[in-house]
């Protein structure tokens, strides 16, 4: 029998980790949902954001959580420049062009880090320790990371729902032509969206760097989790991504505890494929809709009928 | 030959096709007209299986084809063209048509010959070995029809076959459509150019805001007050 306190530990640990996974996935979800571009270099941007935070700590002595205020705006600009140089010229090309171009970016970024920084793992020691949450011992950085993930999700929600640019982004995601007829330039919207997506990476990077150490290939480990989270949570659906991230976090923690950490990856890839199978056989509705919101819809429609 | 009953398609709160029940008689040319956004192309997509109806049925030769996939409907003998031609850009003109001609277990050689014959049938002007991305509008329109005809349809659905052509080319294409009809192909055509629809069609169906406004002979439709209002009104 599994003891209740072990179970609650797994869930708490999973939720905290999952919130950070969701934070990593938010930018990917936004860009995929609005622009229909799968940014395969998402993990490579994350790696650069982690290093940025590391160097901000090492050189300027900046706390990783404070460095978000520096890294996120810088990455917004970085995202806008990337969009102009690489995504914009091929936005109307077939899918493969975007996939290749972003894969090319991975090579550039990873090998840049490899050449100039080297492969030694870089960890931040900002003096955070352990704490007790609901009677369970956890690292402080994970708790703060989770809080930042929640705040970011809320911020993104407000930005998308309550601001003018948010309206333009949502309109463009729905129907690009119609939005243009209403005077919203998709060119500007795409630029801002990509910038925002990369700025979200700029938030996630410092959080990740405070928990994990950074290497040139660290992004690859997390970008696949991010893809799974996005497919589960839905495109451009901020809270869907948050729930999905926590779900994956709990699965991750449970598999690692009961079996083997190496098995958690095959398990969530299996979930991923299973979601695709269910979608393809028409059990889960359109491909843009998140699994979780879909289940919620089905549940609420059952209630009302 | 083809019948829709209470066919309805909703996109969210918008009803694009609203309770449409029409019948396409065998051997005739039926015109489908209506202002922009009337639901003509949506109706095409419903009949050919590209959209699943929210409600209603499509029957073809007495058989319910409502939930069949597009390729299955094509195999039954219903073929369509697209409003914006969709050529296979990297392939030659003949090879474009071969894709349709390969349908019923033909070998490549036989399909090539059939493709060339079909191009003759639609009176394609130009070198058949040109790649499709070098064609002009008139050639693209013919190619689009040839591809559909190569599948040996009994019902051919043309979505704005003459749009974008000058009056001279238009006249020639009208002759091609008449010839195909004489050869036994039933035709349902969406068309904006009134003289073409009115000249070719045995019967005309008018759609407005997703509903059937009226139907009848070209003459009846032209004199219908409601139709005139829809076209001339605000």
């Amino acid at each position: 029998m599994v003891q209740a306190d072990i179970l609650s530990q797994i869930i708490l640990y999973g939720v905290l980790t999952g919130g950070v996974y969701a934070l990593v996935a938010m930018g990917l979800s936004l860009i995929f949902g609005v622009m229909d571009v799968v940014n395969f270099a998402h993990g490579a941007y994350l790696m650069l954001a982690m290093y940025s935070s590391y160097f901000a700590w090492q050189i300027l002595g900046l706390d990783p959580f404070l460095s978000i205020l520096l890294v996120a705006p810088a990455f917004f600009v970085f995202g806008v420049i990337s969009e102009r140089l690489i995504i914009h010229p091929i936005i109307d090309e077939p899918d493969f062009a975007q996939i290749f171009a972003t894969v090319g970016l991975i090579w550039v970024f990873e090998n840049f880090a490899h050449y100039f920084i080297g492969t030694d793992p870089k960890g931040i020691e900002a003096g955070y320790g352990g704490m007790s949450l609901l009677g369970v011992p956890v690292q402080e950085v994970r708790v703060y990371g989770f809080v930042i993930a929640l705040l970011t999700a809320l911020g993104m929600y407000l930005l998308l729902e309550k601001t003018k640019i948010g309206l333009a982004i949502r309109a463009t995601a729905q129907d690009k032509e119609a939005a243009e007829l209403m005077g919203m330039s998709s060119e500007v919207v795409y630029m801002v969206t990509f910038g925002l997506g990369i700025a979200l990476v700029g938030v996630a990077g410092p959080v990740m760097a405070s928990i994990y150490s950074t290497t040139p290939t660290v992004g690859a480990n997390y970008v696949l989790i991010a893809f799974v989270v996005v497919v589960l949570g839905g495109l451009g659906d901020v809270f869907g991504v948050l729930w999905a991230g926590m779900l994956i976090g709990i699965v991750d923690a449970a598999v690692a505890f009961f079996y083997e950490p190496t098995l958690s990856a095959p398990v969530y890839y299996t979930i991923f494929i299973a979601v695709l199978v269910l979608r393809a056989t028409g059990h889960l509705g359109g491909s843009d809709e998140g699994l979780l919101s879909r289940i919620a819809n089905i549940a609420s429609s059952n209630e009302s009928s | 030959m083809l019948k829709t009953e209470n066919l309805t398609k909703r996109f969210g709160s918008v009803v694009a096709v609203d309770d449409v029940s029409i019948e396409i008689p065998e051997g005739e040319i039926t015109g489908l007209i209506g202002p922009n956004g009337a639901g003509k192309t949506t109706l095409f997509n419903l009949i050919t299986g590209f959209y699943t109806p929210s409600n209603g049925t499509v029957t073809y030769k007495g058989e319910d084809i409502t939930n069949l996939a597009p390729h299955e409907i094509s195999k039954k003998g219903v073929s369509r063209t697209f409003q914006v031609p969709k050529p296979l850009n990297q392939l030659s003109v003949t090879e474009n048509v071969v894709v349709g001609a390969l349908g019923e277990g033909k070998g490549r050689q036989a399909a090539m010959e059939k493709a060339n014959d079909t191009l003759d049938r639609v009176n394609f002007q130009g070198d058949y070995s040109m790649t499709a991305n070098s064609l002009n509008v008139g050639q693209l329109k013919r190619l689009e029809i040839a591809k559909a005809v190569a599948t040996d349809p009994d019902l051919l659905m043309l979505d704005e076959a003459v749009a974008g052509l000058n009056p001279d080319e238009r006249g020639k294409l009208v002759n091609v459509i008449e010839k195909l009809n004489d050869q036994g192909i039933t035709i349902l055509m969406v068309e904006h150019v009134m003289e073409v629809v009115m000249g070719l069609s045995n019967r005309v169906i008018v759609l407005d805001e997703g509903k059937v406004l009226t139907e009848g002979t070209p003459k009846e439709v032209q004199n219908d007050d409601e139709v005139i209002e829809v076209y001339l009104g605000t």
Binding site: W107, L224, P266, A280 | A69, H71, K86, Q109, D127
Partner: protein, 341 residues
């Protein structure tokens, strides 16, 4: 007046004589003959590189069938390479099966996996297929690591084929001819596919899925056929590498990098053309060998930055690959050199 595309007026023999008579034709024949005679004067190292070219080339040709002809962006084809390689390693080593049985098992498993992955994902939009294939190759990598007792884990395992086979592939010259022949066979298959019903349907699907469906093409089914064929050929490459390299490792077999490389090679050469993956392989594999073995280490990563930049520039400015550039060369050769009757 309309002018019809030639169908079957020339006899096959006539066509061949005509093609060889052209300068580009007889020069190609010359290159082929030189390639056949290579073992007479090439060093073992050069033969080794060429064998790697053939093995990688088979994978690229296979990728081109689903990715180039069909336009379906498979990013996990290494999983089939891994199935081929590991089937041979495990069945030959642990179960005493013959190489051919082991290879056949690897190919069959790959085809099954392709159907399993293709069926659900091909009905969704293109991105999901790409993502699913990545998930499969990454997931399989972890499984190979997890079942380390059986697979050899992260270190991998060496392959000891029957002695006659070991002798054959151990001789560089014989190995060269064997791999050359299989490479040639794969080129023939790829050429045949291009002009078959499957090929036309895949091209139609790539250009416009809706248009293809309207012409009666069961798009999901033909994408699965194309993917399955691609999987089978890639498994063949993997199985053959296992006996030639006499070693399989998870990082070499189930690697996302290898999957991307197949796509990259084909892109550089020219996607969707018969010779694209061949030209791409001849161009890229020697360069990569040079970068990794001669430059290595830090300079190697500088070279990869260059690769990345080239890849992005090619995608933006020359997405049609090298082949269309090469057609100028062919025209120039045909126009300047004399014809042979």
């Amino acid at each position: 007046m309309s002018q019809k595309q030639q169908t079957s007026t020339d006899s096959i023999a006539g066509k061949i004589t005509k093609a060889v008579g052209k300068p580009s034709g007889y020069l190609s024949l010359l290159v082929f003959l030189v390639a056949l005679a290579l073992p007479l004067f090439a060093t073992n190292y050069i033969l080794h590189i060429l064998i790697l070219v053939f093995i990688t080339g088979i994978g690229a040709i296979a990728w081109n069938i689903i990715g180039g002809y069909g336009g379906q962006f498979a990013l996990g084809n290494a999983v089939f390479y891994g199935f081929g390689a590991y089937s041979v390693a495990l069945l030959v080593n642990n179960y005493g099966q013959s190489f051919f049985v082991a290879l056949a098992v690897g190919i069959i498993l790959s085809v099954l996996l392709a159907v399993l992955v293709g069926y659900p994902t091909f009905t969704l939009s293109g991105h999901y297929f790409a993502l699913a294939t990545i998930a499969v190759v990454e997931g399989m990598l972890y499984l190979v690591l997890f079942f380390g007792d059986f697979t050899g884990g992260a270190i991998g395992q060496s392959v000891t084929p029957a002695s006659w086979l070991a002798d054959l592939v151990g001789n560089r010259v014989i190995a060269f001819y064997i791999f050359f022949a299989i490479f040639g066979l794969c080129i023939l298959i790829s050429t045949w596919v291009r002009y078959s019903k499957l090929g036309y349907y895949l091209l139609a699907i790539r250009e416009d899925q809706d248009a293809a469906a309207a012409l009666g093409v069961n798009t999901t089914r033909y994408k699965i056929y194309g993917f399955a064929l691609s999987a089978a050929m890639t498994a063949l490459a993997g199985g053959m590498y296992a006996v030639y390299g006499t070693y399989v490792s998870p990082s070499g077999a189930f690697s996302l990098d290898l999957s991307i490389q197949y796509a990259l090679i084909t892109l550089i050469g020219g996607m969707g053309t018969i010779i694209g993956p061949i030209v791409g392989t001849l161009f890229m594999v020697p360069i990569q060998q040079y970068v990794t073995t001669v430059l290595g280490g830090n300079l190697g990563s500088l070279a990869y930055i260059g690769y990345g930049v080239i890849l992005i520039v090619v995608i933006i400015y020359a997405p049609e690959g090298l082949v269309t550039r090469l057609s100028f060369v062919r025209e120039w050769i045909d126009n300047t050199l004399p014809e042979v009757k």
